[in-house]
């Protein structure tokens, strides 16, 4: 192997792929039967963390950053004057296997710029996955990002070897897409999602009859949109992701805060900071829908089209709905316990389990690790009742004053705490 050349390619093609934020490697059911390499049946593992605090779970690279399209928000667009490189299929296979065997990664996340045409590109992505599975009996994780405009047959074949497929919707609104990605259109972006969804349904049906029918994207499909590149509202964003979750049964919709890569009057100026706080708030919102039984319109709607950047969306909801509080820790049902600011899913489960033995008091909740600095305004428990009645804005200020550090500088794109 020409190591220096591979090194150079890797640095270019990892750099170009890093704006795709998905790093999930969970949800597959590929077990290692017999004595082969790899197993993806458990939860995904973050093997390392970059200095920006993001999880490194997969070898995330582009096959090539040559591209015939010219999407304005993308570093790889045709008109951008950058170094180009392309991996050979076997090089990607080799890298994946060698990284995997050393326990560096959970698997591969492969995407690509479009060279020649969509099918030609997609074929090569599929070939990488096929070789890993069939020639090397590899059971590690594979995520392929599908190429817009590739044929249904190729999408289907990809589903046979990949654990997850993603189709990036790119921008939250149709008008945004038209403005920034002139070569793409909304309809052709959605079509592959439908193809994949059908494939998954067919597989599920077949599996009921024949246990051993070949797997089809066992970890489902996901999508991503860039936020902050056009002037969409959070309500727009949530509408789009809700649509995607519902219509195509997506496993995840990722948000990628726009990183300015080009100066153009259609785009935010070059030194605009990456909207990391907003991105984090959107993920928290996503969490509220998926794990906290909130409905989208409870969080954003015509009256509240944008998320509060200073406080998290759950707290924000609670402040707007103070009449629902205080909630009695010892008697309220799980659904309501989940809605208390400062109580996460794990804490809610603990509360519901522990109160079966005896009613809980304030001290016990504290020892159990409940974030009482926030929860204390919203709960009743044994021998405890919140001291004063607060009005929405006063309470908001009070919480902000005492939780300063919590809300100021420190944000993670996958922060799960409330």
């Amino acid at each position: 192997m020409n190591w220096d050349r591979i090194n150079e390619k890797l640095s270019i093609l990892a750099d170009a792929a890093k704006y795709d934020v998905s790093c999930s490697s969970s949800g597959s059911k590929r077990t290692n039967k017999g004595k082969n390499l790899g197993d993806s049946s458990g939860v995904g593992i973050c093997h390392s963390y970059t200095e920006d605090g993001r999880c490194v779970s997969l070898l995330k690279i582009l096959l090539t950053n040559y591209c015939i399209y010219d999407c304005l928000y993308c570093v790889s667009r045709k008109s951008n004057d950058i170094k180009r490189a392309a991996f050979k299929v076997d090089e990607v296979v080799d890298l994946t296997l060698n990284f995997y065997r050393r326990n560096y990664i959970e698997g591969l996340f492969l995407s690509s710029g479009i060279f020649k045409n969509p099918d030609f590109t997609m074929e090569r992505l599929v070939l990488v996955a096929k070789k890993l599975r069939l020639e090397h009996k590899y059971n590690g994780y594979i995520h392929l990002k599908t190429i817009p405009g590739a044929s249904d047959e190729l999408m289907y074949e990809a589903g046979l070897y990949a654990d997850r497929l993603s189709v990036n919707i790119e921008l939250p609104t149709k008008s945004g897409l038209k403005l920034l990605a002139p070569d793409k259109d909304h309809k052709t972006m959605l079509a592959p999602m439908e193809t994949i969804q059908k494939g998954i349904q067919i597989y599920k049906e077949e599996k009921k009859i024949i246990k051993s029918s070949p797997k089809f994207t066992p970890a489902g499909q996901s999508s991503q949109m860039i936020i902050g590149a056009t002037n969409e509202s959070d309500f727009d964003i949530v509408k789009t992701s809700t649509f995607l979750y519902k219509k195509y049964s997506l496993k995840r919709v990722y948000y990628s805060g726009y990183v300015p890569v080009l100066s153009d009057n259609k785009l935010p100026a070059l030194h605009t900071p990456v909207p990391m706080v907003r991105e984090n708030r959107l993920y928290q919102t996503d969490w509220l829908f998926r794990f906290y039984q909130f409905k989208p319109q409870e969080i954003v709607n015509h009256n509240y089209p944008n998320l509060d950047l200073e406080i998290d969306p759950k707290l924000s909801w609670a402040l707007r709905n103070l009449e629902q509080f205080p909630i009695d820790i010892n008697t309220a049902d799980y659904h309501m316990i989940l809605r208390i600011p400062g109580v996460g899913v794990r804490s809610a489960q603990k509360i519901v389990a522990a109160r079966k033995y005896a009613f809980l008091n304030y001290e016990q909740l504290k020892k159990m690790g409940i974030a009482l600095n926030r929860a204390k305004y919203f709960i009743i428990c044994k021998n405890y009742y919140p001291s004063q009645d607060f009005e929405q804005n006063r309470l908001r200020n009070e919480i902000l004053r005492f939780g300063k550090s919590k809300y100021s500088s420190h944000f993670s794109n996958q922060l799960s705490l409330f």
Binding site: L10, D15, N32, K35, S48, E51, I61, R101, K350, A353
Partner: protein
């Protein structure tokens, strides 16, 4: 205070619990044999590990707690915390007294302590599943050194066995001087001789496969390139990978 000294095995511990009940000991502490016991403060009794006694305690606890909770309870011993046996004994006393599966009674201090320790153990297990970095030696062995906070080898063994079923590997805990070795069929516990421990470590590193250094370089290159500089957040970075783990992480050296 009476100190019951046991041989650091699960069975030894369960025997000690049996003795506590048999001898109706009230002011009692169970301690590992490798700990120094302050002679002034009490009497010490060496526990003679007894399979039958251990089994009777186990059966009783399984009856009340179920098998899974019972196993989790024993797992807590792997934390090696100095007085963890006392916490487990408290938990067992509470269980026997109430004759109830109290495993989720988070409001009770003994239960909370067990649950918190389990959580710490599980975090360390996750970290080792993540942070082990194999190097490839000339003879085809993939080997890694670790120094985990707790004795997690028994907890990670099956994960590595099912994942790397077609390669020989060795994960060696330098802190406890023992390792797990997979020979393509079984995983066994191995021990390098004390005086060759260092030698073995260096020896292995000399016999690296020729491509090994190249793949390490590629991995470092990848790690650097996948970072987004404009999102830099060192505080979060350190929270995820505390410095004490850096020693064996190729990308951090």
């Amino acid at each position: 205070m009476i100190y019951l000294i046991y041989d650091n095995t699960f069975e030894g511990f369960l025997t000690a619990v049996y003795d506590v009940y048999e001898l109706k000991l009230e002011k009692v502490a169970i301690r590992k044999s490798n700990l120094e016991i302050p002679q002034l403060f009490g009497e010490t009794i060496d526990v003679v590990t007894d399979k039958n006694k251990a089994k009777r305690v186990a059966d009783k606890l399984i009856l009340i707690l179920g098998k899974q909770s019972f196993q989790s309870l024993l797992k807590v011993l792997l934390s090696e915390l100095e007085t963890i046996e006392d916490s487990i004994l408290n938990f067992i006393r509470y269980t026997i007294k109430t004759n109830n599966n109290v495993f989720n009674d988070f409001g009770h201090p003994a239960v909370l302590k067990i649950q918190q320790t389990l959580k710490k153990l599980s975090r360390e297990r996750h970290r080792m599943n993540a942070f082990v970095r194999f190097k490839l030696a000339n003879d085809g062995l993939y080997y890694a050194f670790i120094e985990p906070d707790f004795d997690v080898l028994p907890l990670i063994s099956s994960h590595f066995k099912s994942r790397y079923a077609d390669q020989k590997w060795l994960i060696y805990d330098l802190k406890r001087n023992k390792g797990i070795f997979y020979d393509l069929n079984n995983v066994e516990v191995v021990k390098l001789e004390e005086n060759t421990k260092r030698g073995a470590r260096e020896g292995l590193d000399i016999n690296l496969n020729t491509s090994e250094i190249e793949f390490q370089k590629l991995w470092k290159c990848y790690f650097k390139s996948t970072n987004i500089a404009s999102r830099k957040n060192i505080k979060l970075h350190l929270q995820h990978i505390p410095k004490r783990y850096w020693k064996y992480l190729i990308e951090k050296n």
